[in-house]
């Protein structure tokens, strides 16, 4: 880098002067050396300065809370006196092993995660495939599809709570037309999970479909043409051309959806607003995020909540590694 400076400098300054007096040349030399050093420092350290705002914010609002949460998890701390900590070692972690509420929440998170993510991604794939054809007003459909994603979670959930109402909900009214008995969407063990998943599916399907659509449009057309020449039906084309080409995209959406599912919070919190963070009278749709919130802000046990947060973090790391291994296998097999 400094060489570029040296090469560029002479024509501007002394390039035109045929003979420079030696004294001036010496000061000029020093000046240039100083400038060059400054330039070097600039080049070397400026990039760090430019990226530092992010990292400073990350340290203040990401790293520090993470570490402090770890420190707090080793103590008994109450919200009524957050500075009054008493050391309990790993007790907050060991008790998680026989905390049935934690494992119930973990199970719920997994179940809701699966029954929301799998149909969501499959539907998104199908929708993207349809939208990939030449359609009238395709931009309109794309905007409509993304609308749920732009809706506030709280507003959407509150509307869904009304739709899923047991006595006066529209969904039960509709099912009633076919002779289905009233379903207690909030209190049924499975029904409540399905209802919460529905909200998630409604919100995220369009978003994933758009991602798939973008990837589909990048698949070279000649692949389809040659497949068609070989006599492949549309379905076969989808199976053997579209799907393999989408593999990295599918993997990406899987990872993002997994992360989203493991953080599921607002939907179950608002799905039964009166029971607050307990996730239903029998905790039937309490997710890990909700249980963490309940321990910290409702029950006011910050130490226990911190330990739950860290356990969730560790579980997520394990999930991440599994994801990575699977994706490597997939890549190797292709």
């Amino acid at each position: 880098m400094p060489t570029r400076h040296d090469a560029a400098a002479p024509p501007v300054k002394g390039g035109a002067a045929p003979a420079r007096p030696p004294a001036e040349s010496a000061t000029e030399e020093r000046r240039r050396a100083r400038l060059s050093r400054r330039w070097q420092r600039d080049v070397r350290w400026s990039p760090y300065a430019f990226v530092s705002p992010f990292f400073l914010l990350f340290v203040a609002f990401g790293l520090f809370p993470l570490l402090y949460t770890g420190w707090a998890s080793l103590h008994a701390v109450e919200l009524t006196a957050p500075t009054d900590m008493s050391w309990v070692g790993l007790r907050n972690f060991t008790r998680i092993f026989d905390d049935e509420f934690f494992w119930n929440a973990a199970k719920n998170t997994l179940i809701i995660g699966v029954i929301s993510t799998v149909p969501q991604l499959m539907m998104a794939l199908g929708i993207a495939h349809i939208l990939n054809y030449k359609l009238r007003a395709s931009t309109f459909y794309r905007v409509v599809m993304l609308a749920p994603y732009a809706t506030s979670i709280a507003a959407a959930t509150l509307v869904f709570v009304l739709l899923f109402g047991r006595d006066y909900g529209m969904i039960n009214w509709f099912l009633g037309l076919f002779g289905v008995d009233q379903i207690d969407w909030q209190n049924g063990t499975w029904y409540s999970k399905i209802a919460v998943s529905t909200i998630v599916i409604w919100r995220w399907t369009g978003y994933n479909a758009l991602i798939y659509l973008a990837a589909m449009q990048a698949i070279p057309q000649d692949l389809y043409e040659s497949a068609a020449l070989d006599g492949a039906s549309r379905w076969k084309q989808f199976l053997h051309v579209t799907l393999p080409s989408l593999r990295p995209t599918i993997l990406f959406t899987c990872v993002v959806s997994t992360i989203g599912a493991s953080q599921l919070f607002a939907e179950p919190l608002l799905f039964d607003a009166n029971k607050g963070a307990s996730g239903g009278s029998q905790h039937q749709f309490q997710t890990l995020g909700l249980y963490l919130y309940e321990q910290g802000w409702v029950n006011q046990h910050l130490g226990r909540a911190s330990a739950i947060a860290w356990t969730m973090f560790l579980i997520l790391i394990v999930v991440g590694i599994i994801n990575y291994v699977i994706s490597r296998r997939l890549r190797a097999s292709s």
Partner: protein, 454 residues
Amino acid sequence: MRARTLPHSRLRSGGGTRIARTTRKTVVIAAVAALGAGLLAGCADDGKDEDDTSSGSGGGGKTKITLGLFGTAGFEESGLYKEYEKLHPDIDIQQTVVERNENYYPALLNHLTTGSGLQDIQMVEVGNIAEIVGTQSDKLLDLSKYGKKDDYLPWKWQQGTTSGGQTVALGTDVGPMAICYRKDLFEKAGLPTDRAEVGKLWAGSWDKLVETGNKYKAKAPKGTTFLDSPGGLLQAILSSEKDRFYDSSGEVIYKTNPAVKAAFDLTAKAAKDGLVGNQTQFQPAWDTTIANSKFAAMSCPPWMLGYIKGKSKPEAAGKWEIAQAPKSGNWGGSFLSVPKNGKNAEEAAKLAAWLTAPEQQAKLFAVQGSFPSTPAAYDSAAVKDAKNDMTGDAPIGTIFAEAAKNIPVQTIGPKDQIIQQGLTDNGVILVAQGKSAAEAWKNAVKTIDNALDK
């Protein structure tokens, strides 16, 4: 195989007609705008949560006093701020209201423990008062010099006072409980409708109330239950008990206290027999059962009348009547406290004392239905002659005042709210959904114990 339609929109001819493109652009923009407007409308309600309803124009040089409130305290609505500002021209009062106490209280605790973000006056709900008095009293001003002890109901004053004799919170309203019932439904079921006679049906014992429920059920109009919800009944029974979840030394005794188990079992029995609606109070579905007249009676502190009125159809006006509960109890009510490190702590304390004085509480009752915690107000015309649209010409002020005088001095504790909610939302409601009382009790105890364990 026929040539397939090319799915790629980007392969379409780049030129296109200018007009077509502009229209499409317009359509898209219009669609986005329409959706955006819808979304904004959907979000508009959120604004209520932390609405800065400020009163008066903040004039220069005035002392500004801020209040942090939740729910519908009604100080501003009943014109009390304006009145105080008129009496003290150098004071400017502003309030911040959070709609739900579940959102308000954790933030208040946080602000108290960090010593920042506090308003000059902070409201505290009765379910949290023991915790505030027990753990935060060193951060609150002693108000015993400002409020007159003899003005307040003794137990209300006591709840805001620490074991060391510091009064850190002054009582605003109380919730003396009565039973509201529908005259038309009672009549159809062959029960008396006169409030004195109805009161006699169950005077002195909650069992008798449940028995009356059985009588009602025998001839009940189709689709109605006797009471609104298991939670309402449990709340009513427990609030009339002297000792509930804590003993006087502060030990948690809810599991071994026979009164709690009896209340739970009686409610479970009523739920099993179908005397209560399968509802959770304050949920939209429960609101609808009020609107559609799906139950005949409910436990009813003064503020509940306002709630009923808000959720009822107009034709229900005057169809309600109100009778004394089997035993008097208190449900709800709040306090005002003044953080020590506020800039205008002393002025704030004066305002808190003025807002909770008998004359002001009487005015508040007339407008807002919050029942005074100051017995001197009970003889004022505003309370004595008070009527409510829902209950026709029933003298509600006199009825609630009668109940207020018989409320037991209850032993309260820091986690009352969590225990009460566990017994209700993780307990008796399960019986209404078909579980046995024993299963429901087990589920409730498990939840509560996990919540209490540090």
